[in-house]
Each structure stands twice: as structure tokens, then as C-alpha cells.
Subunit: 341 residues, 4 copies
Amino acid sequence: MGDLLGVAVLGAGHMGADHIRRLDRMVNGARVAAVADPDAARAKEAVAGTEGASVHTEAEAALDAPGVEAVLIASPGPAHEEALLSAFARGLPVLCEKPMVPDSAGALRVVEAEARLGRRLAQIGFMRRYDTEYRRLKALLDDGRLGRALMLHCVHRNVSSPPDFTSAMLVNSSVSHEIDAARWLLGQELTAVTVLRPRPSAGAPQGLLDPQFVLFETAGGALVDVEVFVNCGFGYQVRCEAVCERGAARIGDDRGMLVTAGGSAGAEVPQDYLVRFADAYDREVQAWVDATRRGRVTGPTAWDGYAASVVAEAGVAALESGTRTTVDLAALPELYAVTGR
Amino acid sequence: MGDLLGVAVLGAGHMGADHIRRLDRMVNGARVAAVADPDAARAKEAVAGTEGASVHTEAEAALDAPGVEAVLIASPGPAHEEALLSAFARGLPVLCEKPMVPDSAGALRVVEAEARLGRRLAQIGFMRRYDTEYRRLKALLDDGRLGRALMLHCVHRNVSSPPDFTSAMLVNSSVSHEIDAARWLLGQELTAVTVLRPRPSAGAPQGLLDPQFVLFETAGGALVDVEVFVNCGFGYQVRCEAVCERGAARIGDDRGMLVTAGGSAGAEVPQDYLVRFADAYDREVQAWVDATRRGRVTGPTAWDGYAASVVAEAGVAALESGTRTTVDLAALPELYAVTGR
Amino acid sequence: MGDLLGVAVLGAGHMGADHIRRLDRMVNGARVAAVADPDAARAKEAVAGTEGASVHTEAEAALDAPGVEAVLIASPGPAHEEALLSAFARGLPVLCEKPMVPDSAGALRVVEAEARLGRRLAQIGFMRRYDTEYRRLKALLDDGRLGRALMLHCVHRNVSSPPDFTSAMLVNSSVSHEIDAARWLLGQELTAVTVLRPRPSAGAPQGLLDPQFVLFETAGGALVDVEVFVNCGFGYQVRCEAVCERGAARIGDDRGMLVTAGGSAGAEVPQDYLVRFADAYDREVQAWVDATRRGRVTGPTAWDGYAASVVAEAGVAALESGTRTTVDLAALPELYAVTGR
Amino acid sequence: MGDLLGVAVLGAGHMGADHIRRLDRMVNGARVAAVADPDAARAKEAVAGTEGASVHTEAEAALDAPGVEAVLIASPGPAHEEALLSAFARGLPVLCEKPMVPDSAGALRVVEAEARLGRRLAQIGFMRRYDTEYRRLKALLDDGRLGRALMLHCVHRNVSSPPDFTSAMLVNSSVSHEIDAARWLLGQELTAVTVLRPRPSAGAPQGLLDPQFVLFETAGGALVDVEVFVNCGFGYQVRCEAVCERGAARIGDDRGMLVTAGGSAGAEVPQDYLVRFADAYDREVQAWVDATRRGRVTGPTAWDGYAASVVAEAGVAALESGTRTTVDLAALPELYAVTGR
């Protein structure tokens, strides 16, 4: 792969700024080429420290800015339809935050526009499909080992809801993640929905129907139930248990994925250190690159490497002699005393 | 930050090739500028698909190649000392895989050379310090909530050992990770070591003392014990329990960190979706950038976005009516039927 | 307490025989005084080895047998009403297996009969109320720490259903345990029920609607959902999670009781060995009494006691000397070599 | 089995009183025939409410009391040797609390005395052998599935130590449980011991070496390590992990037993409700017998039985109609309103 992909980010609010940071610091192969937000000051602040990003107050101007090859839409939902259609008109690939378009009529217009193009340009931001645990559950369901999925039991709990959160938003904002996850995990469309309303929690704002219990039926006859409780007070919990014909698997709890099948309930044990520590290696090298580009050196020192050698040698001597062996280090050079560990 | 950091990778074996892929695909802000391996064919293969990397058979040649600003040493351990000193001579920052230098005399020469420079250039590849669980354990020990650490109980198990693995290598290769982790977690040097040798497992190669039980004493009077068992047959397990004056914390077992203190044993529950799904966001955007640069579109489709809107609207209707509400989707455009989900 | 309570057991089938064994071997303070079963051979077999139990083919005869002071009804459900009314007529206390009476009209007649007596004689066999985990959950809900319970999520899974199990029996036999548990845990009557029927599992017998998903509403506005799946194939699982205003608690999974509240998810750690090993003490003394009454001696030997003393003394010497200390045992007397450990 | 076994209990302190309660209330087939304690008042209090127990200040008098057929020794350790020899002289079976005899010379005298008798009379109170989890671990090790045991990692933690607890008592009192458990689990004698002393916890009383780390070697070449920490402050924890040639198994942590083998870490799922709820059945019937003998009726009421019937009928109607069905109960008779649930 050659040059960096130039991305226009639409929207510089909480989510947009987070994506700008991600493109600039975490993701390989891309750069922020332009940003648009009606609030120019906010847009400028979001790209401070990011080199080469032009700032705009109009989405269309950002799409037309030099170097823009792709679009990330992180503006408020009502602006998405127009932004998607603009990107389609320019043939630009798009990553669009959820909801794609808040109302289904507008969403259908987007689908029809892309279908007319005859090729896909849009990816929608259902990021749970990229979560390690969800991917493992999806892989398990797809490999057929547990048979067909009969039910999904889901839990979606937030500590507290934002101001002005409405009873409808529990369904069309919070549960929208479970809607996509259920469709994806089961590979089936949802065909009917029922919402049950237990007596609201004393911890919920006056008038908010919280919690709710949402039931989906699917085209294949499966059942999906979702507890959504956005003022549970005790933490953010997302849980999903798939009950299949020959076993059940649960994620989001206290192990990676707990599989119950054939008389035992257990978690997979990795077979390799590259699986267990893959993320650590990525973070290590990223941290080194980041520090180096800033002219700094951080992380384990040569002294740490030296001390490990000395201890390992003493260990081998202890192994061979069968006795306690002392570890004798040289004097600590001032360099390491100062920069510390 | 401006241009990409040009990295010379020394060694194109298993670990070197993995780091080349990492710098090229996962890490932001760097590029592979040169690679060196005595086996030129192996070096070439490792950078196939990586643009702009020169290939060398000599480490020094790679360090002097155009665009090289930093070095990643992934060659065999015996080559490290010379490579580190060469990098120091050129003022190049280095990330050096462990062991820094296999023998402590050589390691001390590296320390002294860097000390003479008067500034740090080297970071040693003890990647466990970048593992999420180890970092949480370190943070917990450092915040003082549990009091002083009195003991670390460690387990290091591999499915099977490579050919030619010796009894000494259980200590100076496998346990070297625990050596650094113990020094780092406790902030203390190790002062003595004892190695106990239970009767070897029938699953170990003839003549290999496996498992071993290694005991370290520390400058602060703590005790570190390590079960090292490199032919355990059942998986890769790395576990560490810190026993402190007011509680104990264990990682590497259940997901996360299990803290026992004040009459309960439990795991922290995240308070926010950005904590829970941070990795998913990173992977989502990386996957989108990667596909886009290859001219492809993958991931959730506009149809997925549309379907979510329709289901959400039906859900709100169900909430308001209190009854089961059917979901009515438009016909699926052929575009999505073909590209699938 | 003085003499043993004389119990008439009605029914000598699977459950009845189990209760006879329990009264004879496990329970303190009772004896089986009479047993009744239409199948006299089965009744005789059930009390073989039990001293002093008369055998009858008619329930009434057993109730009138000498020494009968209380009744345990373990006959088939349709016989319960008559047996209960007979016990009431004689003023005999009764423990009646569930279902008390299969049809609610008959059940109401029993209630009315006992109400006319003006005092309670009957205890119904909802044994989950005596399960350690359920009792802990009940205690937690009652102490008010988590606030009001809003929802119960229940799971009831069996490996496979008996022959002739009908779709209705998933509700009125399997779920009847959850019906009582929900009423007891919440302290509320159930006011409405809905049953959802996902597409049956391929593992269920032809025609059986298995699994089912049952929803109960309660007088206090709580919601109770129950997955009942009697041909899950992989094990017997009974799970119950209570979701409350300030936390959630789950039993029946892989810890005693997992409580999520205030940012952490955890299990209680006992403070005392008498809590942790209470059952072990009971079993130990019971095993000793049982063996002694049979003229046998089992369990840990005097040699075990001696060896523990020697090792402990060596341990103290090792502690004091700071060195490895060998353990020197006397020669093993033949007595212990023969009776083994 | 016929009459109740008459037991003389020696010692009416904490442990003796607990065993008297156990024999009287929990254990089937025995009765307390005599009790001896130098403190006659304490002995009398311990048997208050127990019918037919004679009270003595001398152990020998209790052994000779009418109806005594067996002895339970719960007096202080130094009195055990004489009590055991007295029981042997009378041919009485004995259950003797641990330590059998505190010093190994006395312990050996007991062993020799029993060996001279040529038959076993004594069972020693190592009650962990009766703990469900330990028994499962023992069974797993014995069935050979995981191969030979190579190491046991043990943890023994108490909240705090009693007054006057000495450093030696960590080894010869606390760890004595692990000494027996290790010998029993492995079926091997312990051959050497080493005690390591980390810097004491700030939470330990001045001068007490707490925690300690005790290492045992066994006749078969296995290694047993024990963390003993009697002022850990946070709870009572007893843990044991057996590391074998083909897997590892841990108890005392999560509920049940966690087995790691063949690439997964998991717990067994019971296949049957009788396994899962065995204890609940025992407690239920015991509670009923106890209440009945006191002339009381407790537990689930006939109203509970009736309500379950009504709800179950509504459930079946809901299943058949596919709709929400209300539950209609008769009026609650005053009897149940008063006695409550």
C-alpha cells in the first residue's frame, strides 16, 4: 500500500473528535485531510496537532477539499442522508456512524441511491461487529458446532441516561445496537417486535419508562429478548447469550466467551502467546513509534534488559546447583536512576 | 506529527516478519524503510507488499540505508549487542526484542555504552508492560489501595516446547518475562533465586526438567514464585496473583482482573461504552481504511442501516401501543443480495 | 426433643424411595413408621433395611398405622388432594411434594379445608426455597440494599425430557418451580402470563414445543421471564438473575452468587472456616456415625494423624532454621498398610 | 440400622459444643450420651436441650457412662493422647479432632497402641476429605485422566489470627490441613519441607512472621507449595490447584472445580436436578421434621401450592392461545394472611 488515505471527517463533536484522534494516532494508512463542522472553532480544535487537515463549515466543501478520498460521517443523525448522497454523487467511500439515517424513509432513499450506483460505497458504523467477543460468538454460531440458534438473551445497561433521553430512545437508540447484532449474529431479518414495560426504577428520571424488555421475532423463528436499562446505576454492561440446539454461549460477562456444551461450561484457553499478547505487541510498537517521532524514549530500559540477564544467569546457576543463588547487579548508572523505570 | 518514521528492521525471521507486518498494517506513523537478514530471500519475502523498503544482508547496511530514522532489532539474541552498539554510534533510537543481550557481561557493555551517551536510545521489548491486564495490575499496586505487595504467584505454561529446548531455557528464556514483570510490578530488584525441580512430566521430552518452580526474593523482602511448565499440553496460560497487605489481585485467568479485598472477590465493571468498546472502534476504522485503500467496501451495509431504522421505528410503535408490531422491510436490492452481509 | 418423629410416606416410586432413604439416613429426629404404595412389592423394597416401617397398599391404612405422627406425600399428583384431606381429617402435619394438586379447583378445595381447620398442617415441597443460593438471593432482595426488584431473568434447562412429555408440561411442570420461586423471591402474586414459542429445537421430540419463553407480570409491576428448554442436551441448568434498582444478582451460574453493584461484579468471600466447611463437618460426623453403627472404621487414620505431627514438627524446624528440613517417619505399621488410606 | 449410637463428647468448648449440636440436630443415627469437660458449667450448657446426656468433669467417667458406645474427642490437643488410649483400652471407636496428638512422639505412641490392638478404632478429624470440592479433586486425580500430579499450589488465608498465635503455629496449626490434604490427594508421604519468610505484612501483629510460604517435597517427586497468610484481612480463602501432566484443576475459588485441559478451562455442568438440588432436599425435609417435632408448621403453604396451580393453568392457556392470559386467584384466606409466607 502506498500513500495515506485522505479522509474528510464530517462533524467535530464528541464522536467526530474521537475519530479524528483515531485516524491520526491509532489507525495505519490514513490521514485526516479535511474536517467540517458548522462550529468552525470546534472543528479547528479537533484537528489541532493534526497536520494538513483543512477546516470547513460546510460538509460539501470538505468533500471537495484537496486530497479527500473518503468520508467519515460523524455529524448528527439528521444530517446523514444529505452527506451520504453527496458522497455517493462524488463516488467517495463512506464510513457512516449509526444511525445511518434516523427515519426509515430517508434510510430507504440512501439504500436506493446506492443500489442505483450498482456498487457499494457505504459502511455503517455498527462497531460491535468488530468487537473481539462478538466476533468469537459469530464465528461459533457460523461454524455450526452448536446447531441452530434458537434464542438470544441480551442485556444492555448504562449507568445513567443523558438529559432529555426519552422512552422511545431506549428502543431506537440504545437497542439499535442489539438490533444490528441480532440480525448479524443470526443472519436473519427481524419480523416483529413487542415491548414490555415493567414498573420504572426509582433511579430513572420522572416519566422515563426505564427499564424496558424488548422481544424480537426473526424470519427463521428465533426469539431475541433485550433488557434495556439505561439508569441501572452500577455500570455499563452489554451481554449476549445465544441458546442453540446443542449448547449455549455467552459473552460480555466475566470471561471472554463462556460456552456450555456437552456437560461442561468453559472458556477457551489460547494455544499460543501471539494470541494472548497480540494486543500488547501492537501497543508496544505503537508506543515506541509515537515516542520516537516526538524525540523521546520511554518503556523498558537497557538497565531492565541487563537486570533480566543477570537474574536469568543466576537462575540457571540455581537450577544447576540446586541451591539458592544470589543476584549481583552492577551499580545503577545515573542515566537510569534519573529517567526512572 | 509529520512524516512517517522510517524504521530499519533487523532480522526477518518469525518475529521480524511479524513486526514488519505490524509496522506496515497496524501501527500509525511509521514505515519500514529497510530490512536486514543474512538470508536475503527471507528478507525480501518479509517486505513483499511493503512499499519503499530496501533489503540488506548486513545490519550495518540497513542502518545506513536512506530514510532510516530508527531501528527495530528482531535478529537472534547473540547479534543484539553489536546491533545496539551500532545504533548507539549512529544516534538511532532502538526497540530491541528480548533478551536484550543473552549474557550479562554483554548486557552490561550495552548499559555502559548508553550511559556514556548520556541519553536513552534503547527500549527493550518486554511487551507484557503493554498488556491491558498487566497495566491494570500495575496501576492497582501503585495506587496503594491494597498496601504493599508481599508475594507474587506466577504461572507460565506453554502447550509444548520447541525442539532443542534445554532445562536452562525454562529459566533464562521462558521465565525472563516473569523476571521483568516482577521487577516492574514491584519496583524492586530481585536479589536471590532458587529453582526447585519436581519429577519431570511424562509429557516432557526425555531429559528436560519440566516443570520447574522458581523462587525469587526481592530487595524489599517480597517473594515471587513461578511455575514454569513448557509442555503442559493444554494451552498457553500466563497468570499472576499479587498478594498484598490488604487484598489480592489476579490476572490471566478470568478475563480482566479479579480483586479480592474487603470480604468480596470481584471484577470491575466498566462505567462507559468507550471503555468497553474502545478496541472495537479502533478495529472498525482500521478495517475500513484498509479496505478503502484496496478499493473495496466491506462491513455493515446501507441495507443494514436501513433495516435497523425500520426495526427501531416498529419498536417505538410497539412501545407506544403496548402490542406486538410487525416489521415491514422494502424488497432487498440486488446489490446487497450479491455482496451479502 | 425426645423421640423420633414417626412419618408415613405415601408413594414408593422414585421420589418416595428417595425421601425414605433421606428420612432413614440423612435427617435427624425422624423415622419411617409406615409406607403406602399400590404396588406392595415396590413399597417393601423401598423400606428394606429400614427398621420398624409397616407396609400398606392404601394411603389411609398407612395414616392409621401405629406410630404415625406426620405424613410425607410423594404419590402421583392426582392422589394428593385426597391424601391431604385425609391427613387434615386426622390432624396430621404433612409435607406434600409438588404439585400440591394439579388442578387449581382441587388446590382451592385443599386451601379451603385447611382454612376451615384454622391452623396450618401442610408444607408444600417447593424445595428451591431451601437451596443455599436461592436463600442468599432472597436474603439480598429482602435486605433492600439493591432497591426494589424490577425483573427476574430465569433459565431452566434439562438435558432431555422424559417420554410423553407434552408442550403444556414445560409450563405446568418444569416452570412451576420458577412460578413459586418468583412469588417467593418477589413477595408478590403473578398476575398475567404470556408464552412465546420459538421454532423448536431439532433436538426436541417431534411435536414438542421446546424451548419456550414464558413471561410473567406481577402485582407490583415486575417482569419475570423464563427460558424453559427441556431438551437442551448439555446439562441441567437453573439460573436466576434479579435486576434491581441499584444492582443485579445472579445465582445458578459459576459462582455462588454474583452481585453487580456500585461499579463491580463480585462474589462474597466467607469470613470464617465454619462457613466455608460447615457441610464438610456435617458429612464427616455423619460418615463416622454411619460407619461406627455398622461396626466399621473408615476415614483418616491414626497414621495420618501421626504423619501430620511429624511433618508439622519438621516444618517448624524449617521455619526456625531457614533451611530445607527432611521429614523422618517411623516404619508404617502393617495395620495401616492393610486398611489403606 | 436400629438404635441410636451413644456418643461421649470430650470437651465442651467451641468445637465440642458445635459437635454436640451437630450430633443432636444434624446427624442421623446418633445421640449424645455423655459429655466431659473440666468446667462442669460449660459442659452442662453445651448439652442444654439435649435429652439423656450425662455430664462429667473427667474424660474417663464419660467413657464409662451408661449408653456410651463411641467417643468424639474435642478437648484441647494435649489431652488427646490419654483420651485416645483410654478409648482404645475400652474398645471404643473414636473420632478425634485434629491435631491427633500435638507432638510426634505422643502421636507415634497412639499409632503403636492401635497397631497392637490389630484393628482400627480411630478416625482423625481431617474434615477437608469430606468437603465436596476436595472430593471432586481427589476423584479427578484418582481417575488418571489428567495424568500424574506434578505440583499442588495451595493458599490458606484467614482474616486475622487469634491472640497469642505464634509464627510456628502458621506451620503446625494452619498448614496442618494442607499437610493432610496433600498426603491424601497425592497418596504420597511428604519427605522434606522448606519455609520461606517474606517481609511480614503490616497487618500482622508485631513479631509474627505472617505470611509464610511453605514448600513440601513428596516421596513421588511432586512439589507442594502453600501460601499461609493468617492476617490477610479480607476473608477466609482455601484454594488448591493440582497441576498434572495433562491438565490442571483448581478448587476453592469459583464455586465448584475449574478444570483446564485440552484447550479449554471449564466447570462441569450437572446432568440432573438431584445432583444440583440434593442439599436443598435434605434441608427441606430436615426443616420439616424439626418444625413438626416442635409442633409448628413452616415453609411453603397450601396457598403457595394453590397459587402455583392457578398460574400454571393460566400458562398453559397462554401457550395454547398464543396471547397474554391473566391469572385469577381466589381471595386469600385469613389463615395464610396471618401466618404469612
